[in-house]
Amino acid sequence: MPISPPGSSRRAFLLKTVAMIPAMTLAGTALAGLAQAADGGPSGYAPSFFTADEFAFVTAFVDRLIPADEEGPGAVELDVPNFIDLQMNTTYGHGGLWYMHPPFRQAPATFGNQLGLPPREIYRQGIAAAETAIQAKYGKRFTDMTAGERDTVITAMQKKALAMAPVPASMLFGQFLTNTKEGYFSDPIHGGNRGMAAWKMIGYPGARADFTDWVDRYGAKYPFGPVSITDLGA
């Protein structure tokens, strides 16, 4: 069953915007805000943690991690940038879930993140470092790049081929990827997955949580669309 991604027009507008607006103008403007205004939705989301510049970077980044295409909606139109911003004000964002005592020793990647920075600082220091490194290597700001150019940069970060300090490129990439998938696929109560569109795309029923009648209907497609915690009045 083909699903037409809601908000695809917003995303088309956004991409045109990225292409058209000169960097100077863009610097002061949140891309998601523009995108939402174009959709006639609530006027621009005002980030509470990220600066406008950072938020533009976040938006341009997650737009490539989960792009809008014929398969379904992209991260931007499902409000993933807003989700990430909101998460920065939680215990998690402040690093309150992690053991943060020094010393911070270098260890192989199999030991997890040993850098000692909470998610807020991974983004704050990471985006700043990335901006500098990207400018130096590619001679352009990330937010001025075409989709293809941004993919090249993200691939370099993923493969540790962009030198950055103190937040290594692969760590910033990993933080983005984790939070983007979370924002795309979590219950809309957390501010992403607008309209449960990501759940609809993959056939996930969300918070239904009762399959007594379906567990033994072998091989059949589950017929009901998703519900969210908000729908259920929590």
Partner: protein
């Protein structure tokens, strides 16, 4: 912040998970005044399991709502005794519990009995394969207790948990299509087996085709409404899929909170104190007798709780931690192999295969229950000839579809990019068309894997962290390769359009960033000799006879199965010894 001394009690229990709750019930039944101390908060079906707020993957899984808060305390990990350890800073590889109910509130519910052969693993291998068969670095031991001795306690624990399953042999008679490798049982399961998911039936059918012996996983998710011997009630499981890592909204998953605590609440001589973090077991000047415990309460007071009997039930490696902090018993020294506290830490060696089907075949992996599924036992325990294979241990294989959620996502075919349009397309194509199976392998204790105290890192109270020295060794790689190869035959017989095999390769290190299981054991192992074990066959400390240490800490090595069925039976076995023998004449139950 004051120093406080509480009124004396007969018994104090440290930790209120499965082991603590079982002991509390047993000891209060024996008439003892019991105080249970739990470091985490009060928890119950309401509010932690309330629908729909509990059906929230971000909060529960990604943000670890119910799991131990590492910000307060964690452990440090290194691969070898020559390395510097670093802390386990972000939860991933294992998800220890905290709070009333412990991990028992958010476990899955696969409910097993250890195989009789595994209870005397070293003797069994030496008898069958010769004295030289067991690799030199493998420090496996016999448990010092037999299946026959534990059988009544397995049976009673299943009644308390309301376990659903199909028995094979009851009192020597074959009664149904259960696991043909199962040991004899004295009774059938209290509840009939659950329905199966499509994924599990596909696996079972293919397993039978290749000549293996599929059966339903015994599950502590109720197949029907049930009332247990304590009068606690369960409702039928709805296959909600928010099981492992979540409190059940439906009173269907056995937990200390649902299956024991309602009965304990009626007992006037029982007291449960949450947010009481025990820092030390206190001993008298001889060091041979516990006098009670010292804990820090929520207000930061340092509280002494005097008691005649101390039960330590803080989960697996935490039990070794408490003994090391309290300087009870001789710490293990890997260079000499001497000492016992921290010895024989063991984990689980899990490997998996995902099979992908076409877009017409809906496996709906979001439907599931934590303990539900179909398994084969042909390559678990010593059910096959290890002679030519050169490794110890094995693995049950299963499809245990506990409920795939959107963020965690299902497996994706090899070669799928991690992001971008290609990733999205693969998620969309595969999310409802995949079957995942596991070879839930043993991890044998190894001389080099052990627990001690970290010299550098401290927790929120200034205690040194526990340090885990652990890595995979030769035996693990061999066992993984062999069992996954055998499981692959099932996967192939399912005729998938693609397959993804994940198996530990020789040299591959333990990865703290990917979930493995939360089935750790050892560190305070049981046995028949104080030189090689920390507790006797009744889980009584060899050093301090009024201290009993309950939990998977007693396992001398890892099992193929999940541990809790065996943990619960051992706890009832220990409680029986306390009630029937120890209380009449306190002192060592086994002479050293």
């Amino acid at each position: 912040m004051r120093d406080i001394t509480m009124k004396h009690t007969d018994a104090v229990i440290i930790g209120f998970g499965w082991t603590g709750a079982i002991m509390a019930k047993e000891l209060t039944e024996a008439g003892l005044k019991v105080v249970a101390l739990e470091r985490g908060p009060n928890r119950d079906t309401y509010p932690e399991g309330a629908y729909p707020s509990s059906i929230d993957e971000l909060t529960h899984n990604s943000r670890s709502e119910l799991f131990q808060r590492l910000a307060k305390t964690t452990l440090s990990i290194r691969y070898t005794a020559n390395d510097e350890a670093v802390p386990y800073r972000q939860l991933a590889a294992f998800l220890p519990g905290t709070g009333v109910g412990g991990a028992g509130l958010h476990w899955s519910g696969c409910h097993w009995r250890i195989t009789p052969e595994e209870l005397r693993l070293r003797s069994r291998y030496e008898e069958r394969y010769g004295k030289n068969f067991i690799p030199e670095d493998i420090t496996i031991q016999d448990w010092g207790v037999t299946y026959e001795e534990l059988e009544p306690h397995f049976t009673f624990a299943e009644k308390v948990f309301g376990t659903s399953g199909q028995a094979y042999k009851v009192n020597g008679e074959i009664v149904g299509a259960g696991n043909p490798f199962d040991a004899d049982r004295s009774t059938p399961f209290p509840l009939p087996p659950m329905k199966n998911t499509y994924s599990a039936t596909l696996f079972g059918k293919a397993a039978a085709e290749v000549g293996y012996h599929p059966f339903d996983i015994p599950s502590a998710n109720a197949s029907q409404a049930y009332t247990n011997p304590y009068g606690c009630q369960m409702g039928p499981c709805t296959f909600c899929g928010f099981c492992s890592g979540y409190a059940c909204y439906n009173y269907s998953k056995a937990s200390p909170n649902v299956n024991i605590l309602p009965a304990l609440r009626q007992v006037p001589h029982f007291e449960l104190r949450a947010e009481c973090d025990v820092v030390q077991i206190l001993t008298d000047s001889t060091g041979k007798k516990a006098t009670g415990v010292l804990y820090v309460d929520a207000a930061g007071n340092r509280v002494t709780q005097p008691a005649d009997l101390v039960i330590l039930g803080t989960f697996a490696y935490n039990n070794a931690y408490m003994l090391l902090l309290s300087k009870i018993g001789t710490p293990y020294d890997p260079s000499t192999g001497e000492g016992v506290i921290g010895k024989n830490f063991a984990y689980q060696n899990e490997n998996s295969i995902a099979t992908f089907f076409d877009d017409k075949t809906y496996t709906n992996p979001f439907i599931g229950a934590g303990g539900n599924g179909v398994a084969v036992d042909d390559f678990n325990s010593d059910h096959f000839d290890h002679g030519p294979l050169g490794f110890v241990g094995g693995a049950p294989f299963w499809v245990n579809q506990a409920g795939t959620k959107a963020i965690g996502g299902g497996p994706l075919p090899d070669g799928t990019p991690e992001w971008g349009s290609g990733w999205k397309k693969a998620v969309k194509e595969n999310f409802t068309h995949v079957v995942s199976m596991n070879a839930h392998g043993t991890n044998m204790s190894n001389r080099a894997n052990f627990l001690d105290l970290d010299p550098t890192y401290k927790d929120y109270l200034g205690r040194p962290l526990l340090r885990l020295t652990f890595d995979w060794h030769d035996n693990d790689y061999k066992m993984a390769a062999f069992t996954v190869d055998k499981m692959k035959k099932i996967a192939e017989a399912m005729n998938p359009k693609a397959m993804k095999v994940s198996v530990k390769k020789p040299g591959q290190h333990f990865d703290m960033t990917h979930y493995q299981t939360t089935h750790m054991g050892g560190g305070v192992i049981m046995g028949d000799n104080p030189k090689t074990s920390a507790v006797n066959r009744y889980l009584q400390s060899w050093d301090v006879s009024n201290l009993f240490v309950v939990g998977s800490s007693a396992f001398p090595q890892g099992l193929g199965y999940n541990p809790t069925g065996t943990v619960a039976a051992l706890t009832y076995w220990s409680a029986k010894a306390i009630r029937e023998t120890y209380l009449k004449n306190p002192g060592p139950l086994v002479q050293a």
